[in-house]
């Protein structure tokens, strides 16, 4: 990605989650779309407020789990029936009930790894750099006890002066400009 220049957005800082949720709901209501909230713990109401209702993690997990199931069960069948058939006390080579246990374990293994790494990938992590870390007050609060609303410059409604005035109407602790 080529380095960008200029303004990433305007960042408003709030002391309580209630103030943040109220501001985010109003901004969404007023037509803002390119925005995000930053909180030190999951605030479901804030996600609802910016219109983020659903995510793809469950789908990724399901697909991963089915892949694990199919991979292990077919490997067991191939090994026991074709590649290396063993006569174990006269049992049929395709003794599928015994194959359930490893297949079950691999379903969980693949589903769990898909959930974890799928979540990280959908979040775009790891990404050690982000413009928000340039904001002087962001790192002091976003992971501890402060709540942030960022209106991003990519939104067509964005204007450095007007948006700053707009954010001030929510009586935040501060509004700072974030640069790339």
């Amino acid at each position: 990605m080529p380095p960008r220049e200029g303004t990433y957005g305007l960042l408003a800082e709030f002391d309580t989650p209630s103030d943040l949720v109220r501001a985010a709901q109003q901004a969404r209501h007023d037509g803002w779309r390119r925005m995000d909230c930053y909180t030190p713990y999951p605030v479901e109401e804030a996600a609802e407020a910016i219109g983020f209702h659903r995510n793809k993690v469950p789908l990724v997990t399901l697909v991963g789990g089915l892949m694990g199931l199919a991979a292990m069960f077919s490997m067991e069948t191939w090994v026991s029936v074709l590649a290396y058939p063993l006569n174990i006390a006269g049992r049929p080579t395709y003794s599928w009930p015994a194959f359930i246990v490893p297949a079950y374990e691999w379903t969980i293994l693949f589903a769990g790894l898909s959930a974890a790494f799928g979540m990280l990938a959908l979040n775009g992590l790891p990404s050690l750099y982000h413009p928000l870390f340039n904001a002087p007050n962001f790192r002091n609060g976003a992971t501890t006890d402060k709540f942030f609303l960022c209106l991003e410059a990519l939104d067509p409604k964005f204007d450095l002066v007007e948006t700053r005035a707009y954010l001030t109407t929510f009586t935040p602790t501060s509004v700072v400009e974030v640069e790339y």
């Binding site: 309580t16 989650p17 209630s18 103030d19 949720v21 109220r22 709901q25 109003q26 995000d36 930053y38 909180t39 030190p40 713990y41 999951p42 605030v43 479901e44 109401e45 996600a47 910016i50 983020f52 995510n55 993690v57 469950p58 997990t61 789990g65 292990m72 490997m75 067991e76 090994v79 026991s80 590649a83 290396y84 063993l86 174990i88 003794s95 246990v101 079950y104 374990e105 691999w106 969980i108 293994l109 589903a111 769990g112 790894l113 959930a115 974890a116 799928g118 979540m119 990280l120 979040n123 992590l125 790891p126 982000h130 870390f133 790192r139 002091n140 976003a142 992971t143 501890t144 006890d145």
Partner: protein, 476 residues
């Protein structure tokens, strides 16, 4: 009235009890986002390591060295240095394997099952319970590997294309174990790490030194607390919890199959899977208490790990203890009801044979002491008593595995093949050594990683409530 009699007299106790429920509070009053964060972060980010830490780490490290010595000699000479022979071909290695992995299960239970049941009180203890799981699995996983005799060929257990054209035998519970335990270890590590990512973000932002900022910055993967990220994160956590729950049940079930699938009296029983799982949780909660009680004292975490946690863990132990008691009862009942001569003899021999003392140690430690006293709330909230009980139950559960393995094997069908079992010094060294390794790993965790999940504690604080005024006003 009874309730007014129960009401504590002194004001300090009053503060710690929630008037709404009459129970101890999950988090002591007066905590804020900042105070919780500072408390947990400073344990790690302080440059001064407490002297006591070095002392205990020294002991743990010394014992881990004993393990290193014993394992080195084992690799040089072979498993003949252990007491295992015919008829007791499974000795300390399998006992310790089952004991350690059982201990690990409480960590998964706390982090996964109690999360699904929305038990908020688990939040303070889940991180170090998960750490306990991982280190217990490390200790457990070692035993089957060193028991193979040629551990450098342990990869032969895995299915992979090889020049010998050999493949594993998928109908054996011992192979199922390979998949169950390796999946369990992987998922536990992933769940633990993912749980720590937001806290690493906090550590990065609160660290003063450049090295700590880089270290935790890397580990945090650039976490910045976007609510979009949080929502996916919450979904993934719930899914991982939902996956870890059947996993933890399956792991100890598969381990019990190692025994139950054999046709040996004392092993060949259908009660094994549920009774092994309950026993695992029983011993695991005991180990959580053994770790939590000194930790909260040493690091002054009484405000976050409160009497409520100790009390609740006592209740879980009481419940699982009774499931275990039912298992013991059923074993005795089936020995009689099966009308099998071998079963009846095995059970008589287990209780009154030359190694019968181990059965009575087990009954005393697992049933007689805990299941009579844990009914009392006064005792359940007494910290010294609960520490004592945790040690008793850990001992009892070790003896349970000893009884199952040794007393079923040493006198089987044919009197001419009877034998006995007496562990050698190498057996003891390896067992004690894993205790040292576990202690050392756990202390490193406490020193370098956030031992209480900050983001989950923040959710439970009064400041996290979204006030109705805000939501009402938002509509306009």
């Amino acid at each position: 009235m009874a309730t007014s009699d129960l009401k504590p007299k002194d004001s300090d106790l009053n503060r710690r009890i929630d008037p709404a429920t009459g129970e101890y509070r999950v988090i002591a009053p007066g905590q804020t986002f900042m105070s919780v964060t500072e408390k947990i972060v400073r344990i790690v980010l302080t440059p001064d390591t407490p002297l006591g830490w070095f002392a205990i780490f020294g002991v743990g490290g010394a014992l881990a060295t004993v393990l290193l010595v014993a394992v080195t000699w084992l690799f040089l000479v072979g498993t003949g240095i252990w007491a295992i022979t015919q008829p007791v071909a499974w000795g300390f290695a399998i006992i310790n394997f089952v004991w350690w992995i059982g201990i690990g299960h409480a960590g998964t239970l706390i982090s996964a099952i109690l999360l699904l049941f929305k038990q908020g009180w688990r939040n303070s203890i889940n991180r170090f319970a998960e750490a306990m799981t991982i280190f217990a699995v490390v200790c457990a996983g070692m035993f089957p590997l060193i028991h193979t005799g040629r551990p450098w060929l342990a990869y032969w257990m895995l299915p992979y294309p090889n020049s010998m054209s050999l493949w594993p035998q998928f109908r054996s519970p011992l192979l199922w174990d390979v998949f169950a335990v390796s999946t369990y270890a992987t998922i536990s590590v992933v769940f633990w790490y993912i749980g720590m990512v937001p806290d690493f973000g906090t550590m990065r932002d609160r660290a003063d030194s450049k090295i700590a900022q880089y270290f935790y910055g890397m580990l945090s993967l650039g976490w910045r607390g976007s609510v979009r990220h949080w929502m996916r994160y919450e979904t993934a956590s719930l899914l991982l919890a939902g996956l870890a729950t059947p996993l933890v049940l399956s792991v100890h079930t598969v381990i019990s199959f190692d025994f139950a699938v054999a046709v040996l009296p004392g092993w060949h029983t259908t009660i094994f899977p549920p009774y092994f799982v309950a026993g695992a949780i029983y011993s695991g909660f005991a180990m959580v208490l053994t770790l939590a009680i000194p930790l909260r004292k040493f690091y002054h975490l009484e405000g976050l790990v409160t009497e409520r946690h100790i009390d609740n863990m006592g209740k879980v132990m009481l419940a699982t203890g009774f499931i275990v008691a039912y298992g013991y009862g059923m074993e005795a009942f089936m020995a009689w009801y099966s009308a099998s001569h071998w079963e009846a003899f095995m059970f008589w021999n287990r209780m009154f044979g030359p190694m019968g003392w181990s059965y009575w140690v087990l009954i005393t430690c697992n049933l007689a002491i805990p299941l009579t006293t844990l009914w009392s709330r006064k005792l359940r909230t007494s910290i010294p008593f609960m520490f004592f009980i945790s040690i008793v139950v850990n001992t009892g559960m070790w003896f349970e595995r000893f009884v199952i393995v040794v007393t079923s094997l040493y006198r089987d069908f044919l009197p001419s093949s009877w034998g006995t079992y007496r562990a050698t010094k190498w057996d003891y060294m390896i067992y004690v050594g894993t205790l040292g390794l576990f202690t050392a790993l756990f202390l490193l965790f406490v020193r370098f990683l956030p031992m209480i999940p900050m983001s989950e504690i923040r959710m439970m604080l009064p400041g996290a409530k979204i006030t109705p005024k805000a939501t009402a006003k938002a509509g306009d």
